[in-house]
Amino acid sequence: MTTTRQPITRRRFWFFEFYRSAVGKKWVMAVTGLILIGYLLAHMVGNLKMYLSPEAINAYGESLRDLGGHLVPRTHLLWIMRIGLVVATYFHLHSATTLTLLNRRSRPDKYDERHYAAANYASRTMIWGGVIIAAFVVFHLADLTWGWGGAEFVRGMPYENMVASFSRLPVALFYIIANLLLGVHLYHGAWSLFQSIGINNPRFNEWRRWFAYGISAVIVIGNISFPIAVQAGIVG
């Protein structure tokens, strides 16, 4: 058997070269994941204002549109952030899809028997967890942003919209289940992103696990508290 060589020809604009590689895609997935985690955290913290008073959260919603104060026209900064979020989500999904397809091709034959030693539920359900979360996000936007959800929807009144939506038990349950799945997804993602970006120091590596546990717990507990509070009648 003689040797054959595969010439490596990658001479493009650096980002395309970089993004074409799987390691580059993983980096993009990690960075966009970090952006999305940041958004989720801010979103959850903002919504906690629900517990202060209806006015507090409605004012918070309004002030998001006023971001940037008098420096930029009203809602422009919010739109820039939204576009950023959409771009991050797009790349997160695109890299996930292409890498999953690549990985399927790289392991065409299944083992008859396989006992996993390290891979866990979280790491092995990333793609399906991701798909369900994406579907949930669409529903969630339709329900509480665009007002297609069927419940009484009044633009600019997040408190009332939320209470109206979560008062329906199936919606509340779906929301809770989706957030639990999100937690599982976040747990592997928040740990894994350190590896993908290459942030690694054996002295602090244990903290990466705690960070992943912490961030997913905080976001999930915060998020599911809303439908529970509505259902329990604490808010409403």
């Binding site: 590689s21 990985n103 790289s106 390290a118 993908s196």
Partner: protein, 253 residues
């Protein structure tokens, strides 16, 4: 003890392959797993059945030739152990053992339990070396290397290139192998001049054959030399850095 083997038989890349069951009576507990296979093969030969092809050579866990998926675990149930070092005292009378080859696109099938792992060599050929022609090296003690760095490089260099990491990876990725070879060289001062081109060349070649790492950690668990996932982080970081490094300005770093 009396055992039953379920072994993957496949005459070549064109064959679909199937499991065959073979009885393995009278196996002693002090035998190694491969000695058990030797005995089964001798009996098969005498019975007129072509013996099972499997890869092995040094039988002391260092050459990296052997590699079987045993009951769904690469190299079998013992942690940090190559197939050849697994011994039959692990098993009990009446057990059935399922034996499969490594399965990954990067490892095309050759025969029965033998696969082609030469993609690993292509990756090393792309950059897994330090260029130094014979006779041109300076005195060995010219550059002191902190003991910790030398030891850590050795941790990575302990890789035997068996391919268990690829076999274990649900994505058929070779990140742990490549990270080990890359880290070994790039942690040492001698490896610095070619560091960034090495990162790019090795990763790009790797991706030609293998899937991508999604940080399951199966590779680390399967590795007979307990190579750490930490090296994968180093490889990823260096690949990213290599993309924006301006080598003319990077100097020694």
């Amino acid at each position: 003890m009396d055992l039953t083997l379920r072994v993957w038989r496949q005459s070549g890349p064109g064959d679909k392959g199937r499991f065959e069951e073979y009885p393995a009576p009278g196996i002693a507990s002090h035998m190694s797993f491969l000695e058990m296979l030797d005995i089964v093969n001798e009996r098969l030969t005498l019975a007129g059945v072509e013996p099972i092809a499997f890869d092995h050579d040094c039988r002391e866990g260092i050459c990296g030739t052997c590699g079987l998926m045993i009951d769904g675990r690469p190299h079998g149930p013992w942690e940090g152990t190559a197939t050849c070092q697994l011994h039959m005292r692990e098993y009990h009378d009446g057990d059935t053992i399922t034996i499969e080859p490594w399965r990954a696109k990067g490892f095309p099938h050759i025969k029965d339990l033998v696969v082609d792992r030469r993609a690993f060599d292509r990756i090393v050929e792309a950059g897994g070396y330090i260029t130094v022609s014979a006779g041109s090296a300076p005195d060995a003690n010219l550059i002191p290397i902190p003991k910790e760095a030398a030891e850590y490089a050795m941790d990575a260099a302990a890789c035997i290139g068996c391919g268990a990491c690829v076999a274990a990876c649900p994505n058929g990725a070779a990140q742990l192998f490549v990270a080990a070879k890359y880290s070994h060289l790039s942690l040492l001062p001698q490896g610095q001049p070619e560091r960034w081109s090495r990162a790019e060349a090795m990763v790009d070649t790797m991706e030609h054959y293998f899937g991508s790492c999604s940080n399951h950690g199966e590779c680390e668990a399967a590795c007979p030399k307990n190579i750490s996932l930490d090296f994968i982080a180093l490889l990823n970081r260096d690949y990213i850095r290599a993309k924006w490094k301006n080598r003319r300005l990077a100097g020694q770093s």
